[in-house]
Structures are given as structure tokens and as C-alpha cells.
Amino acid sequence: MPVIKIDDVEYDVEAGQNLIQAATKVGIEIPHYCYHPGLSVSGNCRMCLVEVKGPRGTMAQIACNTPITEGLEVVTASDTVKKMRQGVMEFLLLNHPIDCPICDQAGECGLQDYYMEYGLYTNRSTVPKVNKDKVVDVGPLVILDQERCILCSRCVRFCAEVTETHELTITHRGEKSRIETFPGKPLDNAYSGNVVDICPVGALTSKDFRFKKRVWFLSTANSLCTGCAKGCNVYLDHENKQTYRYRPRFNAEVNEWWICDEGRLSYKVLHHNRLDQALIKGQASPLDAAVKTAADLLQEAVQRHGESAVLAIGSSTASLEDNFMLKHLLLQGASSEAVYAPNFEHWGEADKLLKEADKTPNTAGVKLLGIETEPEVLTQALKQPELKLVICLDNDAEALRTALADRKVQVIYLGSHATPLSAQADVSLPITAHAEHYASYVNSAERLQKVEQAYFPTSEARPAWKLISALFKPLLTAPPLYDDVEDVWSLLRSKYTPLAKLTFYEIPDTGLSLKPAPETDAASEEKALVADNA
């Protein structure tokens, strides 16, 4: 590993990265605008200028285009460097409108941040600023303000390198340069929202989030996009029990820096059409009464008609904990293993970047628990004549309703959203959605990832595993007390080998692969040796 010297301190850093990356890893921030780790180096903003010692003396160089080499000597804290940054800032702000009061980026703006540190604080310009177009509608999700743009070209490179759709370009010359789309070709690729995140200034803002909230009012929780089986890591920004937006959270193994537009807007399901009251035969009822009614129905069905009278339908939209609890307690309380979690309707299109065809977040998790996911098997099982009661966890589909309509069975529905089935079920109980509880999901690459609770539910909703354990309480001789997600995990890790030795709160923020680690050369050699000896 090469040894480099930054500000007279030696660091042992990894080869094959550039100076910004290396410096960030050892805790030195080199300010930059155009450089983005997910894009190619462009080197046009000049903000990352540092002094590099070379054979011809100390020279100013841009850190983003300086690869790490043995014996590299860099100065980042000298007065010259500070003055260079101040000069760059002065040029970048020369034609910037400074309309921070109406700019959505205010509070998370690269210009504001570095201005406080390196700004000149006086205006030496005597000529009027160049006016360009404001509020340009460039695509279904994005609004462009050409005046605020510092022409870092991150968005242009994103469209060229990541989505390869080439919608954006820089036109004109000199101070008249601006970002533009081609005539009749708006920025409407499936990942267009990412240009808003990577824009270091307020030039590209989100149409969806526009003027909704000043960013400093928002709190952030580490969460997951539940739009498909990919499980992209997101920051969930919320205030006052309301989610305002998702921002992609870097995870090298899953989504890198990006999320798709569909996923970005999928936060809306958290507030749309929620089941926020317990229902008994479609009538609103207090939660306690509804849980009691459901528990009585369940107890009667099991005790009068035996174990084959009950069937449970889990869901790949629900978390690992919820599905586990359903399966576990059905076995404990009703000695039945009739748990199915088919995905009837949540299918869509996949693409080569992030989107997956399976639009539920936890199919791999359900499979890990050994729950049957074939829709056919469930529809066959629903035809059994002994069946009296179905517990359905957040799973509703046309096919399921027709299968249930033929049968005179009682239905206990636990769901986060109001659906036709929740309206016709004998008892419907509201459960929390992913912003309102701690839970884990397993993505299509068998990566266990968790969501943090951002806020408490606005309604009576409870985590499904809590309600399920309340339902089975009368059937259990020694009902266990589950208060925290960790209590569920104490059982979960003892039952499933991939989860052994794990605790919920110790799952890293970027998740954990449940695939068995590929054997290292040493381990396989050892195995071969053992085999030879045998």
C-alpha cells in the first residue's frame, strides 16, 4: 500500500483511488463539486485544488484527478490553497442569483456550505449578472434553474454513464453556458430523480418535493425502499409523522448511489389509503375489541374444528419478523404448518440497473422461513373442506378474493392498507408500515437489511408480530411476551441457521449477506487435505 503525505502527516492508503477518496478515508475533507464517486472524473469545477509537491516544485493540482502514488506529498491546509478555493468560489458565485430564500436546496447546498468556509464575503463584481432561464420543466420529475447552475456537469455525466440515455447537455459558450435538454426529448428516464440528488447546488430540484418543506425541518431515518425485491437503501426524511421524500443511501452491494424514480416516489404509499382503524365486519371498532373478537374466532375454530381448520397467508410485502411470527405461532398454537405467502399481483418490469420484476421487498425472506410462495398451492389449499378460518397478513389480490368467495370461511385480515379484503373480512386489524416499525427484510440477493422506525403510527396500528402474538395468546399454554423486535429475534435466530448469532440491532446499516461466504483458497485447500487424509 502506498504511503502518502498529507499536510506533513504520513498515511498508509489503498492504491487505485484518487486523492479525494484517500483523503476522505483518513478524515480530511477536500471540497469538491464536479467530482462524484459514482461518475467519471471531469475536473471542471476546480474546487478541489490542492498543492502537490513534485520534481518542479509545488504545483496546484485538482485532487479528483490525482491518483494515489507512492510518496505523494500534498498540502491541503495552506493559505495558498485557501486562497485558491476562495477564488474558485468567487467565480462560481459570479452569476449565481443567490436566491436561497426560494431555493429548495438551501440547507443542503454545496455553495452555502463552502461559502461559509471559503467565501470572500464581499462582492467585487461591477457588471450585472447574466440572466438565464428559471423554472425550466426538463422532465416529469425535475425542474431546472439555469441561473443557479455551476456547470459541474454531474447530471450530464449521470445521463451519459449511468442511464446511458444522454438527455442533458451543456449548450452555448462562456458565461452563457447552460444545461439544456434536446428539443422534444425531455429528461424522463427511469432514474431521472437521481440528478436532483447529485446536483451540488439548487439547479435541479425535485418537482415532487418542491416547496413542500425546508430541509432543516426534516429528520432522517435509515430505511429501505419497499418498491421491489432489490431493497435499495434510502434515507427516509420525515417531519411530524409525515414522510416527505426518499434519498438514496450509499450501499456498494445493493444500489450504490442511486434509486429508480418509481422507488423514489414509493414513499407515498405510507400515507395513501391506509387502514387506520380496526374493523369488525367492515364497521370501525376499537383495536382492543377487534383483537379480542379475532382471538375468540381463532380459538373457537381451533378448539372446535381442529388444526386443519386454520390456514395462514403471509406476505412478501410484510417483514421477516411478521411472517416468522405467523408461521411460528400457527405451529405453536394450532399445530398447523399451513402457511403460504404467494405474491399474486405485485409483478412488474425489471431492468438492467436496479429494478426487479418482483415488486415485493421480502420474497427471499419468506423463502428463508420455509413458507410456500406458489399461488397455485395456496388456491388448492383453500379448497380443503375442513377449512374454517383464514388469517391473512397484508396479502390481498383478485385471485385470493375469488378463491375465498367460493368458501364460507372466516377471515382475519391484518394489513397496513385498506383493501377490498380488509373491508369484507370478519376482523381487520391495522398494522404498521415500514416507516413505523423496526423490521428486517431480505432482498433478492439474500441480503438481510433492516429499517429503522422513523415515527410512531398516526393511527392505532401496531406491528403485525405484536398483533399476531395477541391473537394466539389464548391458544398458548405459556404465552411468551414480545415487547421488542429483539424478543422476536431471540426466537428467530435459534430457528434459522443463517440468522444464528445475529441480533436485530447489530445488523449493519448496509445490511448483511446471508449467502454462505465463498470459500477462500486456504479453506478449500484445507478441506482438500482433510479429504485426502480420509
Partner: protein, 194 residues
Amino acid sequence: MKQVKVKTIKREKMSFWERTYLLPIFQGMGITFRHFIRNLIGKGPNISVSYPDEKKTMPTGYRGKHRLTQRDDGTVKCVACMMCATVCPAHCIHIEAAEHDNPEIEKYPEKFEIDLLRCVYCGYCVEACPCDAIRMDSGIYTIFATKREDFIIDKEGLLNVKPQDPSTARPLQGMPPLPGSEAGSRDLPMADHA
């Protein structure tokens, strides 16, 4: 253990004459009567105001009821930047922003409400405002209503509050952009510092 030296001070007993407090009482009454008689014959510094008939002009800088200032065309000058709502220690300002038809104005408050019962009249909102859109120079200190809801003053109400005396009101500074103004002048006041 370290010994602490204690010095006992004996309190001197008051005499019978002192315990009657007669002299201080008459001294105090003397002062009261002196002022009473002076005011009665109209020679004293009478600082009372016969309030509803007579009204005092509040000094410049007195923080009275808030008002929202207007552009020349009568539209609200506020751009809903939420600086006032952010700095407000009483959380009494509620703003909802919306998109303006004019791209040069871009953002305006669709809703601007101040809960006057909650407000502590600290004046931070006026200081935080980058557009001189909110002021407390109305000099109005009599804020009355019969219902709690009526103390929540909305955008129209705030626009209709007039300054107590336009001649003493703070001069207009840092005019926010006017539609159709010449190049460069659409900058907000903070552009001077860039």
C-alpha cells in the same frame, strides 16, 4: 477535622419606641401625601394616561402586531423562505408555500398564519426576514378577540395591518425582485454580500 471559627453576633434588641414603627409610617405617609397634593393641584409630573380617550404613541422600534408588507402591485412580498418560522421561539408562524405563476417570483406563501396568543413578540421574525416582508411596526398593542381561533391571524389579515405612523416607520430596504425589472436587479438583498 478542621475547626471552624464561629463568631456569634448578638442582635441588638429594638427599643419599645422603635418597635411601634410610628416614625417610618408617618415618614412614608408624608411622601404619599406630598405627591397626592401636588397632583391634586396639577403641579406634579402626572404620568397616567386616561386610556381609552387618550392614547400614547408607541416609540419607534416598539414591537406591536405583525404585518406583511406588499410589493408595489399589492401582492405579498413574502417568498415563503421559512426563516421566520425557523427562528420563532414560540413556533407561532405557520407557512405553506406554493408555486407562483411568475417564474421570477417563483415561490409565495399560500398560507401565512401567526398565532398571536402564542407569539412572545420577540421580533426575531422581523430580523430573520431576508425580504423585509414581515414587520412589527404597526404600534398595535391592543389585540383582542372573543374566540381563540380569532387570534390566529391569516395572510389577508396580516396584509391589512397598517403601520401606526408611516412617517416614523422604518424606511423600506432591500426590495425583493419586481417582475419585469432590469437585468441583475432581481437579486434578493443578500446578493450584496456575495
